[in-house]
């Protein structure tokens, strides 16, 4: 049975509030985003909260200035606006100077499904990963989010955290787990490996369940730190599989599928990488639910399972 708890956004806000209460250097800068989830932060710590307005370039610039003066700024906006509207400032002000500013993007993938491509977060991993010095977190449930909030506070340099707004099923049980490793094996199986990130990690478990009904055992890896890539972990855990599948709510071009492909191409192992993600087109269709868009893009549990089963039954498609 699914264990649903508060969404990653609310979990993050709560965790950051706890940190900020103990450290006045922590400043939350938002571009008119997250009204309710930041209510407590705003009312209890008004001196550490700035609504910068709908001005993301200024949000990053001011956060950079605050960081130069010794503050630990969190710049908060929806994924597209937190990453693309102010990309230049993230690149120059934060990454070139290596400033400890954490950019928080809410609405990974099709989280804001009915708001159309302007509000879809489908390019952020690709954009953030080419920036030198940037650390990228893509947590998969709200328990992990609390830990990531703490890790972002304790680690140097610029960071990007990709969050879901909506409630997500829990994957992890313990808050004491070590989330500094960058990736976690959620299931162990010998037939193939599925690497997923964010919300898709839960779907990957469901795909593994579906495959198990056909006696196919999948290893499932939750890749929650995309940069720096946990290379030793991946070398140890995925390079033995002839078939690796990646699942992400992000354009296939430039996302974790690309990351894994690049990683494996740099090893001596030969394997086939099947990338499940959003094809190279904007989605301008609506039916009220995120899952509908997943189905349209072939990212739903059934379609992913069906494709993988077909591939495994016809081994010639991937055995080299």
């Amino acid at each position: 049975m699914k264990r649903w708890v508060l969404g990653m956004r609310d979990a993050f806000s709560g965790a950051l509030f706890k940190i900020a209460k103990k450290d006045r250097r922590v400043i939350l800068v938002t571009s008119d985003t997250g009204a309710i989830c930041h209510d407590e932060f705003r009312s209890v710590l008004p001196g550490q909260y700035i609504n910068i307005g709908i001005a993301e370039q200024n949000m990053i610039g001011v956060a950079a200035g605050l960081a130069l003066a010794g503050k630990l700024a969190y710049a908060y906006a929806l994924v597209p606006f937190a990453t693309m509207r102010c990309y230049e400032q993230i690149r120059v002000d934060l990454c070139c100077m290596g400033l400890p500013v954490t950019v928080v993007g809410v609405g990974a993938g099709y989280d804001y499904s009915t708001l159309g491509p302007t509000h879809h977060g489908t390019e952020d991993i690709a954009l953030m990963r080419v920036l030198p010095g940037m650390t990228i977190f893509s947590p998969s449930d709200s328990i992990m989010v609390e830990a990531i909030a703490r890790i972002s506070y304790e680690s140097p340099g610029p960071k990007y955290i990709r969050l879901d707004r909506s409630g997500t099923p829990l994957i992890y049980r313990s808050r004491n787990k070590d989330f500094t490793r960058g990736a976690e094996v959620l299931r162990r199986g010998r037939d193939l490996c599925i690497i997923a990130t964010g919300r898709m990690s839960y779907n990957a478990i469901k795909v593994a369940d579906e495959l198990a009904r056909h006696a196919i055992r999948a290893t499932v890896v939750d890749l929650y730190r995309i940069k720096p890539l946990p290379e030793d972990f991946l070398r140890e855990n995925i390079s033995k599989f002839p078939l690796v599948a990646t699942m992400e709510e992000h354009f296939i071009d430039g996302g974790i599928g690309t990351v894994i492909n690049e990683f494996l191409a740099g090893t001596s192992k030969k394997c086939f990488v099947k990338k499940f993600g959003i094809p190279d087109k904007f989605c301008r269709q609506y039916d009220g639910k995120r899952e509908y868009l997943h189905r349209l893009m072939g990212l739903d549990i059934k379609e992913v399972s069906r494709t993988l089963l077909r591939m495994i039954k016809d081994e010639s498609t991937f055995y080299i």
Binding site: G47, I50, I52, G53, A55, Q57, N58, I60, G61, V62, A63, A64, G65, L66, A67, L68, A69, G70, K71, A73, E88, Q89, R91, V92, D93, C96, M97
Partner: protein
């Protein structure tokens, strides 16, 4: 030596001599490097001279990170060549290092490099500096510190929307410890600004955004110093914009107010003439 807002009177004659030395130094740095933004640097020489030698900014060359220092952001990062010369002359780093400008192994890049002692922020992408200075000014308010934050912007830079995002923010937060100095030379990289997208009325624009605004002759030490002294002593809850009317390429006749000299180094007869015109007055 700690320089806490030194009020030691320095004569305008001495400042003029320093400005002359700076233009010469910048010219030779550019010639040696083979590429530099000479004309954009020449237009703000008096502004930088007044800030650093006129007893305006507080700084400490032996402790560049001194907590009480004023924060000066060279938002028009292409003028870094001039700021490097100022900082080296003030002993932030060895004067001889200026010879390495943009050469192999040098930390002195073509745009302001924050790894150079005395440079507060990495700039060069126009439109970024005022927001950074606003963040620094806000932090000073939060921490009850007395330092001021100032950013030097080009006027072409004011075409960037991010400048006006920062302007709105600074006025709303009553950052009276923030100053934007606009090097208003009327030229951008390839053209006369008024010919392709007019900024006028620039002074009224800043006022409409909630700033106090002054217009000065950016090559007159008398006027610049008066504006900067006012900046330090005024009582207002508004940020301050000082619009300095300048001439791009100031000091070298054929470079003055001529767009082709934005990023060009004189050679041959032109170089001879530039050197001659920049000779110190006797």
């Amino acid at each position: 030596m700690m320089k806490k807002n030194p009020r030691n009177k320095i004569s305008i004659n001495k400042l003029s001599k320093k400005a002359c030395w700076l233009r010469n130094t910048v010219l030779e740095m550019g010639v040696k490097a083979g590429a530099a933004h000479l004309a954009p640097a020449f237009s703000c020489i008096e502004i930088l001279t007044a800030l650093y030698y006129g007893g305006i900014l507080r700084f400490n060359p032996s402790d560049p990170g001194w907590g009480e220092r004023d924060r000066f952001i060279l938002s028009k990062g292409q003028a870094a060549i001039a700021l490097y010369a100022v900082l080296a002359d003030l002993n932030f780093f060895p004067l001889s290092e200026l010879n390495s400008f943009t050469r192999a192994g040098s930390r002195l890049g073509g745009h302001a490099e924050d790894t150079v002692p005395g440079i507060e922020a990495f700039t060069g992408s126009l439109g970024n500096g005022l927001a950074i200075a606003s963040g620094l000014a806000l932090a000073a308010k939060m921490d009850k510190k007395k330092y001021i934050a100032a950013a030097l912007l080009g006027d072409g830079e004011c075409e960037e929307g991010s400048v006006w995002e920062a302007a709105m923010f600074a006025a709303h937060h009553k950052l009276n410890n923030l100053t934007a100095i606009i090097d208003n030379n009327g030229l951008s990289a390839i053209d006369y600004i008024d010919k392709y997208i007019s900024l006028a009325p620039l002074e009224e624009k800043w006022r409409a955004f909630g700033w106090e605004a002054l217009v000065v002759n950016g090559h007159s030490f008398k006027e610049i110093l008066a504006a900067f002294k006012y900046m330090r002593s005024r009582r207002s809850n508004k940020p301050l914009a000082i619009i300095a009317k300048t001439i791009k390429g100031k000091g070298v006749s054929f470079m003055e107010n001529n767009p082709i000299w934005h990023y060009r180094i004189p050679a041959g007869k032109e170089l001879k003439l530039a050197r001659k015109e920049l000779l110190p007055e006797k």
